[in-house]
């Protein structure tokens, strides 16, 4: 029988991770978001590729828009529109004697969302797996298991039913956390600790439904 950490030590460690993540990485901790970026790696990669030149040169987007506008409407009409627009903005202190180019330069390009590359999210998920291995080694428990322990086997068996239950349950976890916008870490730890209404509601609901199903499973397998 493994001796697990007492509640206060676990609480300290989890709170340390939640706060440390926010302080060091600058985002709130949330594992289902990493799943989302990993399962959507194709979209993530496409977005990263398209954004790359805009990150390198923030005005690339505006240059491209201006070029497209010129191609569509011709120089005369584009200039007229830009002059009209800058005349309208003349009340602004930095818009005096504005030429179209100056108007274009004075406007700050909208910053792109600071996106974490999807590969980093994969690293995050894989390192959790390695953390599990290290923990098992340190507890002298590292070995292959073909079930999830005696309690799970008692409810779901160890054959086909167990595999189906895990596949189905896993799909519900994946679909549900995306639909609900977060999981135990994102809603439960990062959200509840900041009293975010959506997170408090989500945590109450997923905890409550897990309680209901757990009692149900226990009753029907008796």
């Amino acid at each position: 029988m493994i001796e697990y950490w007492p509640w206060w030590l676990g609480a300290l460690a989890l709170a340390g991770i939640t706060l440390g993540f926010w302080v060091i990485i600058g985002r709130t901790l949330g594992v289902s978001g990493s799943w989302s970026r990993t399962a959507g790696w194709r979209e993530s990669r496409m977005v990263e590729r398209i954004e790359a030149p805009m990150r390198k040169n923030p005005s690339a987007m505006e240059d491209a828009l201006l070029a497209a506008t010129l191609a569509e409407f011709g120089e005369q009409q584009t200039l007229q529109t830009l002059y009209a627009a800058s005349a309208g903005a003349a009340t602004l202190p930095n818009a005096k004697r504005t030429t179209p180019t100056a108007a274009k330069k004075s406007a700050k390009p909208a910053p792109l969302a600071d996106r974490t590359p999807w590969g980093v999210h994969v690293t995050f998920l894989i390192s959790m797996l390695i953390g599990g291995t290290l923990a098992a080694v340190s507890m002298g428990e590292l070995q292959w298991h073909f079930d999830l322990g005696s309690v799970h086997t008692m409810f779901f068996g160890s054959g086909m039913e167990m595999w189906v239950a895990l596949l189905l349950g896993g799909t519900m976890v994946g679909f549900g956390t995306q639909m609900g916008g977060g999981c135990t870490s994102g809603h439960g730890l990062s959200g509840c600790s900041r009293l975010v209404p959506a997170s408090l509601l989500a945590t109450g609901v997923f905890f409550g439904s897990a309680v209901a199903v757990s009692f149900f499973v226990e009753v029907i397998s008796k």
Binding site: S34, H152, G170, V173, T177, Q178
Partner: protein
Amino acid sequence: MTSLQQHLRYAAFGLLMGLTLSFIGFTNYGEIHKMFTFADWRLFLTFAGAVALSMVGFFVLARGQHITKKPLHKGTIPGSILFGVGWALTGSCPSIALVQLGQGYIPAVFTIVGIFFGTWAYKHVHREFFRWDTGSCE
């Protein structure tokens, strides 16, 4: 932050998560089941204590700062119900299945495949039918 720095930082926190979740027994189905049936309050207190300590921490560290709040939308309740049912069936929230596999629990492969498929499927269902702003977890 360069890309390498990001990889290293996320890897460090991933390792810490994997270790902590193992040491507190959050990866053990029996322990999770005892929490959900209130047969043992240890894990419940661990979680509640972590929320309380983080609340104090955010209050002190994040004073006056704006941190994005997840939006409440039509998917919050049905999604969370699905997640809760799945959690009770598998004993696994999104990080647990990975840690279980790392410890050598082979059935966790099925949970991982399920989570991956469910996450992928949601993207498509959402794009086709829902289109509400779910706010991502990152």
